[in-house]
């Protein structure tokens, strides 16, 4: 386990900086604690609302008993005043209580969302073992659902209040009858839960089939241009119709189970009402109940079903919140991937690997000095991956043998910000962000137009600006979906060049561009890096002869070991294996 307890980076909202919860219970506790005021007020008012709802049938019974039956106008006036008061309280309690509860839920969801995003983006990385898609769903839907703890607690307490009030009212009227109703309703609900759980499971499985049709639709539309190119749009339409028909059959059959359940619930609750009516009618005949009490009992028996059913819902909400909280905690409490130091590079940003063994790499020596360009040809992509992990400080120190230093300081003793300021590793296929071309390029200190344009030119991407009416301000959609593969790659390269780091590491930067552009890029990159003050160092991991030809030194990695060193021209002349690997 590595270091815990990250220091918060956003100030101003103190609640965001609470320490990460270690388990589900801690998360639930923290949820209630940091929304204390809203939760308490919400619970009190929602309970008051339930109490008022329970009193409505009582009020109806009283009015009939004391006013309608007696014909006393004074009492009627009192009853009407009572009804108005009751409804005023009922409406007010719900309105304000529900707002407090919602505000607490939304606020908690917001805090969790931001916290999850911060944890996922933390420079130290995380070892939650979650894949990117899973992290995404944790940060979006789980953060939202874990916040439902607020609603679950509010519901639990309010429903319990309603049941207690109904209990008191019923027992006041008649003890045996009250006990009968109070036992009967929950027992009936419990009995109904058995088929309900079964039906819910079945209908969820069926809904999944329905969702499958939607997934197919988005997949086909995502590949629509490919489908069009291959003339397969009709085939795709046929496939979708089949999936849609399957989904229809599944939903209709789910609706059938739901219908059965609904029918059973309706019949059961009315049958129960028939029993209550028979018993309380008999009691009224005997004079044990007044007419108003009879009405109240019937009304309460009907009303009681609501909070009891509500409790069942609350159980489901708790289960949902708990499941989401578990996944959320896994991310929030994940150990850091690396434990960075606090030193800064000393002197020139010279990068040096001395006899390094890591993953597939075996005893690799490599030195990169300012003003130099080193090309690395790795025949095995895993070697390239391992090298990049070392240089970006993502490799766990325990797995690395030998020394990796930047500016004379071991990479693991460096402060992460200092390391990343010194060495920029532009991964192959690096993501661009939603915004504009300018916002994507302007990550470094120098953000003026001339600087960005120079970077674009060097990356062979000036056509992105000249070919668009908005120029540098042309919009870039999420993951730059509105650019072609080649445009994306050149934009990412331009971004790396514009960041202008002392040490720039590029990985296969020209795989999606054509030969002509590649040649121009090779020229542009070395010129721009040479112009830097102080002069920059560049390391290119690539199989492109155009790029390798411009490196001061080429290092050949085969099976994790350095098998050759020299200029491209020398290697081509002297090493047949090198020629085999790069000449095309």
């Amino acid at each position: 386990m590595l270091k815990r307890g990250r220091a918060p980076r956003i100030e101003g909202d103190h609640r965001v900086s609470d320490p990460a919860p270690v388990d589900v219970r801690a998360l639930a506790r923290r949820t209630l604690a940091r929304n204390r005021r809203d939760v308490v007020l919400g619970v009190i008012l929602l309970s008051l609302h339930q109490l008022a709802e329970a009193l409505v049938p009582v009020a109806i019974g009283l009015t009939i008993d004391r006013a309608v039956v007696t014909g006393d106008v004074g009492v009627l006036a009192l009853c009407v005043a009572g009804l108005l008061t009751l409804f005023t309280v009922l409406a007010f309690a719900y309105r304000v209580g529900a707002r407090f509860t919602l505000r607490a839920t939304e606020n908690e969801a917001h805090l969790l969302r931001v916290e999850a995003a911060r944890r996922a983006l933390d420079p130290r990385g995380e070892r939650s073992g979650l894949r990117t898609g899973e992290v995404l769903s944790v940060a979006t839907s789980d953060a939202e659902q874990a916040a439902l703890y607020v609603r679950a607690w509010a519901g639990l307490i309010a429903m319990t209040t309603a049941i207690v009030v109904t209990t008191v009212a019923l027992l006041t009227i008649d003890v045996p009858l009250g006990v009968g109703v109070l036992v009967g309703v929950p027992v009936m609900m419990l009995l109904l839960r058995v088929p309900a759980a079964h039906i819910t499971r079945r209908s969820e499985a069926k809904q999944a089939t329905a969702a499958g049709a939607t997934a197919l639709a988005t997949d086909l539309v995502g590949g629509l241009r490919v489908l069009m190119g291959m003339g397969a749009r009709e085939a795709a339409a046929v496939r979708y119709r089949a999936a849609s028909a399957r989904a229809l059959r599944a939903s209709v059959s789910a609706a059938a189970s739901n219908g059965v359940y609904r029918g059973v619930v309706s019949a059961a609750s009315l049958l129960f009402l028939a029993c209550v009516a028979a018993v309380s009618g008999w009691m009224a005949l005997q004079g044990r109940l007044s007419i108003g009490e009879l009405i109240t009992v019937v009304g309460l028996a009907q009303f009681l079903a609501e909070p009891v059913q509500g409790l069942g819902m609350v159980g489901q909400i708790f289960a949902t919140a708990r499941a989401s909280a578990r996944r959320l905690v896994r991310l929030l409490d994940a150990p850091d991937a690396v434990a960075p130091g606090d030193r800064a590079p000393e002197g020139d940003a010279v990068v040096e690997l001395a006899d390094v063994t890591y993953r597939t790499l075996r005893g690799v020596d490599l030195r990169l000095e300012p003003g130099r360009t080193v090309g690395v040809l790795a025949t095995d992509p895993r070697d390239a991956e391992a090298l990049l992990e070392l240089l970006s400080g993502r490799a766990a120190p325990t797995e690395v043998e030998g020394a990796v230093t930047v500016g004379g300081v071991p990479v693991h003793d460096l402060d992460l910000a200092a390391l990343r300021a010194a060495v920029l590793v532009e991964e192959h296929g690096a993501t661009l962000f939603e915004g504009t071309l300018r916002t994507n390029l302007a990550t470094g200190t120098d953000r003026d137009e001339a600087h960005l344009s120079a970077a674009l030119r060097a990356a062979g991407a000036q056509d992105l600006v000249t070919g668009h009416p908005d120029g540098l301000d042309r919009p870039i959609t999420d993951r730059a979906a509105n650019l072609s593969g080649g445009q994306r790659q050149r934009t990412a390269l331009a971004r790396a060049l514009a960041a202008d780091p002392p040490v720039l590491v590029l990985h296969d930067p020209t795989t999606a561009v054509d030969a002509v552009t590649e040649e121009a890029i090779a020229r542009g990159v070395s010129a721009l890096r040479a112009e830097r003050v102080p002069v920059g160092a560049t390391l290119v991991v690539t199989g492109s002869p155009a790029l390798l030809a411009r490196a001061d030194e080429v290092v050949v990695l085969i099976d994790g070991r350095v098998r050759g060193r020299g200029t491209h021209a020398d290697l081509v002349r002297d090493d047949p294996r090198y020629g085999e690997a790069v000449l095309r």
Binding site: V69, E106, L136, S392, D470, G486
Partner: protein
């Protein structure tokens, strides 16, 4: 900044009237099912009226000092009504859901059909995100609306309607008293609906922006860290999350104010029923039992009324999605030419084609003419932006050029019609997409009737059978989104195998073979040669070895053809292509 700034067309959204028309059309097509289901629901709700009525009568019997028999009879009637009502409720709910699901299924199939068959030129302009949200989110929202709430809404409406009828049947004055609540309900709804609609729309937009910020940052985690822009992205997530939350809270504020007005309506109605009942009983016009029944009826309405109005937002958002779906249904279909002609052979002729992307943009193609003989292999070479991809798109009919003509097999492209065109010319584009499903299903998109043996033969032709057989379940391996992840090289192999299965006379290849690294690229080049053997082939050459393998190399620059001829001849001529070739080989340029 957001994706909505993109200069692209949004798909249309239908007007309310048009949406109703599309829905009504669906109802009509569903035949008697919908009508029958409504009748069953109405009868079921009617049976639900029996219990309060009988209870009211029982109150009168007890007041009149009757014996135990009427009480037991009342209980018996309620029990019978319970059984019948339960049956009808279940059946009605099922029937309504069934009709709704059937109408919905037909609608989503029509939508998907229109999207899939969108004219190529329109597709180029449309935002994929918009398309995806129509066939994905909107269909899901409408489905959830129908599956979760559709039948409940119908049942609740029937209950409200019939309860009003029941109260009036007890005594018209009691019915009238209850109806006093109606104007308040209407007033509340007329206040709430117009002001809440825009809020919900804004909430949806805000939530979309929030998830955009989150997805962008998390999917690009590595880049966020490399550029040390964590704080910026976290800040953006926080800002958008807070903005969405603020909207949600204000929408809810509005909803609860609406709720209070509904409580007011309940209070008014109930009070009116009791007060009216009081005077009617005093005047001996109705019995205490009737008043009891009326009060019970009215109390019974609280639930369904609340349900109906509180679900307005879901109904509204389902309505908004429905309008977006109806908008797609109304898209015009790609016109098929009346006298479509068959291409005579596999030749391609491009005549003086010029094209630019929007007014003011530099020409992407500037007077390009090119003839390709049947069976000939031509490679296009040039820098990014030279017009290679545009020319490929125009030859395959994905773009209509501003000027000039394209003939395939002697027939102008526009006279071929979409289906003939697609059967004749096949495009392997830079985009690779592995379709979710088994590998065999993916291949069968190119030829649905292909047997397993034919699929294997196609894979063998592009030298992909070895790795396919090595997959966990061979051809039956589930690939694509959520399945076994294929490498870039494998995805491209698959694209080429589809080409072999489709067996078109003309193939246009614009793939990015270099993505797979040098060794992989060489394998892919061999595969693509094998796949296109005997076909008229136009290759957008990303690697010059592709050009060397072609019968003829066409060099493009700034939308014009600047050199053409066989590889050896161009290299010997020492022109632009010769320079490129030297640079490509890594020989230092002079």
């Amino acid at each position: 900044m957001s994706a909505t700034d993109e200069h692209a067309d949004l798909l249309p959204t239908a007007s309310a009237r048009r949406t109703w028309a599309v829905l009504g059309d669906g109802v009509r097509r569903s035949g008697w099912g919908t009508l029958l289901s409504l009748v069953v629901v109405l009868i079921g709700s009617g049976v639900g009226l029996i219990a309060p009525w009988v209870l009211g009568a029982m109150v009168d019997d007890i007041t009149a000092g009757a014996g135990l028999d009427p009480v037991l009879r009342a209980a018996g009637i309620i029990a019978a009504a319970a059984v019948v009502g339960g049956l009808l409720t279940g059946l009605g709910g099922w029937l309504v859901s069934r009709s709704g699901e059937m109408i919905l299924a037909r609608l989503r199939e029509r939508v998907m059909d229109r999207v899939l068959h969108m004219p190529a030129a329109r597709l180029e302009r449309v935002r994929v995100g918009d398309l995806l949200s129509r066939v994905g989110d909107d269909v899901a929202v409408v489905t959830a609306g129908i599956a979760r709430n559709g039948s409940d809404v119908v049942v609740a409406m029937a209950t409200v309607l019939l309860t009003a009828v029941g109260m009036t049947a007890l005594d018209w004055r009691l019915g009238l008293a209850g109806l006093c609540a109606l104007p308040v309900y209407v007033w509340a709804a007329r206040w709430y609906l117009p002001i809440s609609g825009p809020y919900y729309a804004r909430e949806r937009v805000a939530m979309g922006e929030r998830s955009h910020a989150m997805m962008g940052a998390l999917r690009g985690r590595a880049a966020v860290r490399a550029y040390r822009v964590e704080a910026e992205h976290e800040g953006r997530v926080a800002e958008r999350s807070r903005a969405a939350m603020d909207i949600t809270v204000s929408v809810f504020r509005l909803l609860t104010r609406f709720g209070s007005r509904l409580n007011g309506a309940e209070c008014l109605g109930l009070t009116m029923v009791l007060v009216t009942g009081f005077w009617l009983v005093r005047g001996d016009l109705v019995t205490v039992g009737a008043v009891t029944a009326a009060a019970l009826y009215f109390h019974r309405l609280f639930g369904p009324m609340m349900f109906l109005v509180m679900n307005f937002n879901e109904v509204q958002s389902a309505g908004a999605s429905l309008a977006r779906l109806a908008g797609v249904v109304d898209l015009p279909e790609a016109p098929e030419p009346r006298d479509a002609r068959e291409p005579q052979d596999a030749s391609v002729r491009v005549k003086a084609v010029a094209h630019r992307y929007g007014p003011g943009a530099p020409p992407a193609l500037d007077g390009v003419s090119l003839e390709i003989a049947p069976g000939e292999r031509v490679a296009l070479v040039g820098a990014s932006g030279a017009g290679k991809t545009t020319l490929a798109a125009i030859i395959t009919g994905l773009r209509v050029p501003d000027e000039g003509e394209v003939h395939l097999g002697g027939v102008p492209l526009a006279d071929l019609g979409e289906s003939r065109l697609r059967g004749h010319v096949y495009l392997v584009s830079q985009e690779t997409h592995v379709f979710a499903g088994t590998l065999l299903e993916d291949l069968r998109l190119a030829r649905p009737e292909a047997t397993e043996a034919e699929a294997e033969a196609a894979l063998a032709r592009v030298d992909a059978l070895t790795w396919v057989r090595a997959l966990p379940e061979g051809l039956r391996t589930v690939v694509g989104e959520g399945g076994h992840a294929l490498t870039a090289e494998q995805s491209q192999h698959l694209a080429l195998a589809r080409l072999v299965l489709a067996d078109p006379p003309v193939a246009v290849l614009d793939e990015a073979t270099a993505e797979a690294g040098s060794a992989g690229a060489r394998r892919l080049e061999r595969a693509s040669l094998a796949a296109t053997e005997g076909r008229t082939t136009l290759v957008v050459a990303h690697r010059l070895t592709q050009a060397r393998a072609a019968d003829r190399v066409v060099v493009m620059d700034h939308g014009r053809i600047v050199e053409q001829g066989p590889h050896e001849a161009l290299v010997a001529a020492g022109g632009r292509y010769a320079d490129l070739w030297r640079g490509w080989r890594g020989a230092p340029n002079p």
